[in-house]
């Protein structure tokens, strides 16, 4: 079974530029998550989708970050404009979604973003 796919794996941009990340979840997984992981810290949830609806985006900096999951499958996360503090690994995860308490999240390889 294919895992969670993400691209690109690495991205270097200058501050104030824009960037987009792509994620394709495991087939059949209804829930998709985007996390930000700063070096030395645990993953921090940015946004959670159930199919193509947003379940939680309380920690998404909406003035510069946006995300969509139009057909309930793959998803894109965009940052515009980027700041130095956005340098981090952006992880996408997916889960089946309906087994609350036993809903295992599977992570993709992540995109390492460096903002100069």
């Amino acid at each position: 079974e294919a895992g969670v796919a993400q691209s690109p794996r690495y991205k270097i941009i200058e501050k104030r530029q824009s960037v987009a990340f792509w994620c394709n979840p495991i087939s059949g997984h209804a829930t998709l998550y985007w996390y930000q992981q700063i070096l030395g810290q645990g993953p921090k949830l940015l946004i959670q989708f159930q199919n193509n609806g947003v379940v939680d985006d309380s920690q998404l900096p909406k003035d510069r970050f946006s995300a969509e999951r139009l057909k309930g499958v793959d998803s894109t996360l965009k940052i515009q404009p980027a700041k130095l503090e956005d340098s981090a690994v952006y992880l996408c995860a997916s889960s089946l979604g309906w087994l609350a308490g036993a809903d295992t999240q599977y992570f993709g390889p992540g995109t390492r973003l460096t903002v100069l």
């Binding site: 810290q41 645990g42 889960s95 308490g101 999240q105 992570f107 390889p109």
Partner: protein, 111 residues
């Protein structure tokens, strides 16, 4: 509120045991444990559910103490492959499937 893990770091010799704790200030519904190696994605280890039994596979097991709102991960007879950073992800009652990850415990196993 982010769960707190202890210790922050531990160094073991191969074959030694370790315990990693994850404490929450809020009532827990479940605790998920992950291991992350440097430069890689977190890999799922196990889930502990409220009211559930202690779980384990191979020489890694975990428990869930509802009274203390705490989970502990037990690594027995550690192997070099156990090295990495361990994170607990806590799910709180009423926030189905949303995980808040802890501060992480860095484990290094040496020969």
């Amino acid at each position: 509120q982010q769960p707190v893990q202890s210790p922050q770091a531990v160094i073991l010799r191969e074959g030694e045991d370790a315990v990693i704790n994850c404490s929450s200030s809020k009532a827990l519904y479940s605790v998920h444990w992950y291991r992350q190696k440097h430069g890689e994605a977190p890999v799922f280890l196990m889930i502990l559910l409220k009211g559930g039994e202690q779980k384990g596979h191979d020489k890694i097991s975990a428990s869930f103490n509802e009274k203390k709102q705490q989970s502990s991960l037990y690594l027995t007879a550690s192997q070099l492959s156990y090295s990495g950073t361990y994170f607990c992800g806590t799910e709180y009652t009423g926030t189905a499937s949303k995980l808040t990850f802890g501060t992480g415990t860095r484990l290094q196993v040496t020969l």
